[in-house]
């Protein structure tokens, strides 16, 4: 599997769990807002999200991966993580 689908799946699982909502992560649209009617991601960059992503993707993420950036949709989040995964590999 290439980086993007793998990261996409991991990120969607994460944002669904963080939003405390019971939906199939596979049904989340890439352009779904991170804070909208469906998703409510309000712990971006905190310890739990970082260790989860690191374990799922087997990468080390910098502490400030989400700092100073504007994230509107799931795809925005995926883009940043994909770039990092590529840099690491």
């Amino acid at each position: 599997m290439t980086d993007r689908p793998r990261v996409n799946e991991a990120v969607k699982r994460l944002v669904v769990r963080e939003s405390r909502v019971s939906v199939d992560p596979g049904t989340i649209d890439d352009l779904e807002p991170l804070n909208g009617d469906l998703l409510r991601v309000n712990s971006l960059g905190f310890l739990g999200m970082l260790v989860r992503l690191e374990d799922e993707l087997d990468v080390t993420l910098p502490d400030d991966i989400f700092a100073g950036r504007a994230f509107t949709t799931v795809a925005d989040l995926v883009d940043v993580v994909v770039d990092l995964v590529r840099e690491e590999s």
Binding site: G45, L47, G48, V51, R52, E54, D55, D63, A67
Partner: protein, 423 residues
Amino acid sequence: MDKILDDATRARAELPPPGDERYDRYCEALADELSSGWADVLAANATDVAQGTRAGLGPELVDRLALGKRHLDALVDLIARTRVALPTVTAPTVGHRAGNGATVRRLPKPLGVVLMIFEARPTVTVEGALLPVAVGNVAILRGGTEIAATNQALAVVIGRALKDAQLPTGTVQVVTDPDRRLVRALLKRHDKIDGLIPRGSPSLIDYCLTSSTIPVIASGGGVNHLYVDRSADLELAARIALDSKLGEPTACNTLELVLAHEDVAEELTRALLRAGAGLAEPWLLRVDPRLAAAVPPGAPVAELAAADNGREFLERAVGIRPVAGLDEAVAHIRRFGSQHTEGVVAADPASVEAFLAGVDAATLVVNGSLRLHDGPTMGLGPELSIATGRLHVRGPVSLSALLTWSWVVDAGGRLRGETEAAT
């Protein structure tokens, strides 16, 4: 990491037993040191808040980091309540006489070394340094990097209190190393750490539950429901529903979804809107489309979506969905609930009993607010969190939940062989 664990092990061996007067002295000193050192804590906290703002954290997250006078007042009050509760919690238990004539009793013992992992709430640092330690545990506290400066200042305050009370310095260790590899390494040390208490986001709780072999006291989120039976007093049910949510909308013991018997669901929708009409702060009723006819024009409602099943609304909002009856409500709760707090409103005792038999959660509330699920309110004393696990600790994580025990058999010279020969 080895130093942290070595210091913890040494402190554990040196600590006096639960009930020793030094723990009360520690509580008193912690309150004093917090009060006298609060300006330093606030200065450090301002650094964290500024850093968080620079890093682009939203206002809600920054608000989580920020400390003020009200936090100090709440912490000092928690310490006072802990001191009041300590003598009862650590008192020797009355034994019973076994069949062989020996007296059997339980002696309170601390859990041992407790690791708390949490994110952006600095008050948790103080709670973690207070409640576990007051009953004889060693606490290793690893907070989020967002509150690193605050935690460093709090570590100084806590260290002074330990010294004032003549407790070992390693009794509380505030880990400020931001390296997440340290967290991972600590989670693997079940040989040195006896209990793990994560507090924070769902990802953090999940991670601790799935990545560590250390027993976890998990305080997961609350996807809580209120079943309103057709026998219920609907005006009472409406007041219960609103009180269950609006007092503290983001707390884990609040209501998310009302499951209303279909015979009364429309009337209950109207009752909820009437009960909430005069409230000073705005709120939202999320209504199942099947109940749309019950909503008057201009009412503060939104549609309750299918995806809202199992959702925690971390806002001033409550959902309402009709169900065919108790069986459907129980099935819904089993599928979407988090076994935290579930409630029933019913005048019919048979409905209440059926609900209690069918639903399994840390606390079941009958004809009352879900927010009654609270250690102090339940008369259980101060609480660290509310646990949703199934073993040992369930519901309020009170001081007694942070203790285990040794069975003491006062045998008076009895031998097992003699007992078996006699029976």
